[in-house]
């Protein structure tokens, strides 16, 4: 069963043989782009893998699933799931020297759908990911002023007090929900375009265009900055964070292990999903990047190195984030206690400095005994540091609300704000390079774009079309649309694609042939670890994660959270159900990429059956080898 090889006639004609690969290596024929040096390739892959998720999803998962104990499922699944899949994508790209559509079509013409599905997913994810970058740019532009605009509430029109929505929530919430998003109350209420966000979106897509304009020729230069700068900024923040009061409490809270969480299946599921999404697998970008390498590049080593870097970055970013969160929690705790102390001092007219944090509880007790009724009227809040620390936030909430609030409490806030948003910008942009690659190369392989068009025009049209569609995210309801896309377009289809990739390579391409290829490329056959993970372990893990994900998504009630100033529970966000027509959109988002795999296979099958006669006389008339490889995609 493990050595199952499905019949695959004609495979030899579709792929370059080892001799042809050697020839290509020596002759350097063809118009195929190449990396200038190994560092560019590594930095591009690291940049694609390391993204916003490492900064704002992993720390939350770590803290909510038992802190230090979460490292165990994370590292185990990194080794069993992440590294094998990564090696597989690198090896197949390097061997077949083509983007995702080219690779899967070469393995079997019916598998073109896998490449097309990757293209769709890359496109949909790229749409909303760049909108997040537009939000980051907005905050970046607004960081060049002192005091920062989200540090205080604006004054209302009659100048009698603060704006009510802001006074009831907080300045950071108000700046995010009102002044940035101007969010509407429900997803149906589209509310029109927000001109300032449209400008930021234009800026984001233009910056992306300038970096991707000539494909890897330009992105290869851009990654020198976008992939390295985040690490510099993280280190600066670590040093700054450790000198702030309360940061060590945050780090301790993050890493305190709670071993009982290991028994919870949700922990393992979340760890597996995080490893999978964090590696940007199944987007097709990694296959593309790897195909520009020389044939004898050591892809095994690359896979291991990049996985280690990705894991390390997640842990490092979590440490930095939680040192700052620890500082914020301590500040909140001090403010809370300070408020209570002030109330006590004012009521009982005690001299200043007589109540401190250390004797607060004794004083409170004493007064509670002597005059309990007065204490009742004071409505003293309970201040607990752990509650503040466990206000776990993830995603945009972490970056745009929690972290920005922490920054306002640091001295020289604009500097930290600028650094932070530059870091987020670089993290997002380097991931976008992979998305654009995952859309660009399949479009070229599918011959949708005429060959005469220069690369600049192709990347330009992709950016323009994406920008026009992404305009839905800058309406007043844009945030809700983004959350919708994030939950459905970027989750289930990827799992399906990755599973199909593994099955295709191991059982349709043939694990024996694959082993031989790797031996040809790097000099030794992949050892038992790779064999067992590729054939059994990784596909099994993917299947389990997919089933659980699918079941939870389908059985869960489809609700979303809204920011509604008129709701009674304001400022807590309301959970309301989606309107009916959203279900159609969800089916399109998750269903189209997933069903395009069997649909393409069916389409090709039907075409082959009815048009088989006219295909007999077709012959290749191209002489360059690399051109031949690209043209071998159509039967």
């Amino acid at each position: 069963m493990l050595k199952l090889q499905l019949p695959n006639p004609g495979l030899e004609e579709r792929i370059p043989s080892h001799q042809e690969l050697e020839k290509m290596e020596v002759e350097e024929a063809g118009d195929r782009p190449k990396w200038d040096n190994k560092a560019q390739y590594m930095l591009t892959c690291v940049g694609f893998c390391v993204g916003l998720g490492n900064v704002w999803r992993f720390p939350y998962l770590c803290q909510s699933h038992g802190g230090g104990a979460f490292m165990i499922p994370f590292l185990i699944l990194l080794v069993l799931e992440g590294i094998p899949l990564l090696h597989l994508e690198f090896a197949i790209g390097q061997r077949l020297r083509s983007g995702s559509v080219g690779v899967w079509t070469a393995i079997h013409p019916y598998l073109t759908g896998v490449g097309i599905a990757s293209m769709f997913v890359s496109f949909l994810v790229g749409l909303y990911y760049n909108t997040i970058i537009a939000w980051v740019m907005w905050y970046f532009f607004n960081s060049f002023q002192e005091p920062l605009p989200w540090s205080q509430c604006p004054i209302n029109e009659n100048k009698t007090g603060l704006v009510s929505e802001c006074a009831r929530s907080s300045p950071v919430d108000y700046f995010w929900y009102r002044e940035t998003l101007n969010t509407s109350k429900v997803i149906e209420d589209s509310g029109g375009l927000q001109w300032w966000m449209v400008l930021c979106l234009i800026c984001a897509w233009t910056v992306l265009y300038v970096c991707c304009i000539r494909g890897i020729e330009t992105t290869g230069k851009a990654v020198y900055v976008t992939s390295t700068l985040p690490y510099v900024v993280l280190t600066i923040f670590l040093v700054r964070g450790l000198t702030l009061k309360g940061s060590v409490d945050g780090i301790k809270f993050l890493f305190t292990p709670d071993v009982t969480e290991l028994a919870n299946p949700a922990t393992w599921l979340d760890a597996g999903a995080q490893v999978f999404y964090s590696f940007s697998l199944a987007f097709g970008g990694l296959i593309s990047f790897s195909s520009y390498n020389s044939v004898h590049n050591n892809c095994e080593q690359d896979a291991v190195i990049i996985s280690i870097i990705n894991g390390f970055t997640s842990i490092y970013a979590a440490t930095v984030i939680y040192s700052i969160i620890g500082f914020r929690a301590t500040e909140r705790f001090d403010d809370c206690l300070g408020g209570n102390i002030l109330a006590l001092m004012n009521t009982f007219d005690l001299p200043e400095g007589s109540i401190t944090q250390s004797n607060y509880s004794e004083v409170l007790q004493y007064h509670n005994m002597t005059s309990p009724d007065i204490i009742q009227t004071l409505n003293l809040k309970t201040c607990d540091l752990n509650t503040f620390l466990s206000e776990g936030v993830e995603g945009t909430g972490l970056a745009f609300i929690v972290f920005t609030e922490a920054i306002t409490k640091m001295p020289v806030s604009p500097l930290w704000s600028i650094l932070f948003f530059i870091m987020l910008f670089c993290l997002g942009l380097s991931s976008m390079f992979g998305n654009i690659e995952g859309v660009l190369v399949p479009l070229q392989d599918l011959k949708i774009i005429p060959k005469k068009w220069p690369k600049e025009a192709i990347t330009g049209s992709i950016c323009l079309v994406s920008f026009i569609i992404a305009v839905i995210f800058v309406q007043r309801s844009g945030n809700y649309w983004l959350a919708l896309f994030d939950s459905f377009a970027g989750s289930i289809p990827l799992l399906i694609i990755a599973f199909c990739e593994m099955v295709s390579v191991v059982y349709i391409y043939g694990i024996d042939r694959f082993n031989e290829d790797i031996k040809f490329m790097i000099g030794h056959k992949p050892n038992i670890f790779w064999q067992s993970t590729w054939r059994v372990i990784s596909p099994l893990i993917m299947l389990v994660i997919f089933l659980f994900y699918f079941i939870t998504k389908v059985s869960a009630e489809l609700t979303y959270i809204v920011w509604n100033p008129d709701s009674p529970s304001f400022p807590t966000q309301e959970k309301i159900p989606y309107p009916g027509w959203i279900y159609a959109i969800i089916v399109i988002l998750a269903g189209v990429p997933s069903t395009v795999i069997p649909a393409t296979a069916l389409f090709k099958f039907i075409r082959r059956r009815c048009c088989s006669r006219s295909n007999e006389h077709k012959s290749d008339s191209i002489s360059t080898i690399s051109d031949k490889v690209q043209m071998s995609s159509d039967p």
């Binding site: 970046f140 532009f141 009698t160």
Partner: protein
Amino acid sequence: MLTDLFLTLCISTALTAVQAENRCSVDAKNGYKVRLSIKTALGNKAYPWDDSEMFLFRATLAFAMRVYTKSDQYNVSSVHVCDETPRVSFWFVVSNDTELVSAEDVEKAVRISRNRINSAFMLTDQTLEFVNIPPTLVAPVQPGTPPWLIVFGVVISAVCAGVVMLLLSSFVQKRRKKGILEDENEEERCEKQNGATHEVQEGSDDFNQIFVEASSSTKL
């Protein structure tokens, strides 16, 4: 007779003074409570609260009344203080000869000169608290162009300049390549005549020209 008159005068002024002082009490109708948090505001540089500071307070308040009423009928003696606590909080009332000044007038006077009163003590609206007198909110300075628009302008111009430069440079490169290739082509056409493979040129049709000529007669 004269001594009697003198005595009654003395007693009546003493009585009014006492009355004025008696009108200063906790929860006085025309009085306000003041709360100072000097240690919170100044930390190490906090000064101790003593009678001289209280004198300064009364003087500043008298100043505020003078500014508000634009007259000089108010003196330090017009301001009466009572119920001092170790918190450093007390009540005060302002008297105008024999009557007390109404609460509204006192409030308006304080609000107008709030900044001066605060700076006399190096405190702020929060640390020198007049209970029930809301602080005057200062509208933030609105710059002509929002600062973010300026940064946006800089970034977008830089990026557009980059796009234009890159497009131009690739256009120039293509022109140059075409020029060189055309020269090379003319040389090659002279050399290779016997059907050997040609280099496929960028941008030309993807046919090898020689085989096209042959296929009309040979039927491949």
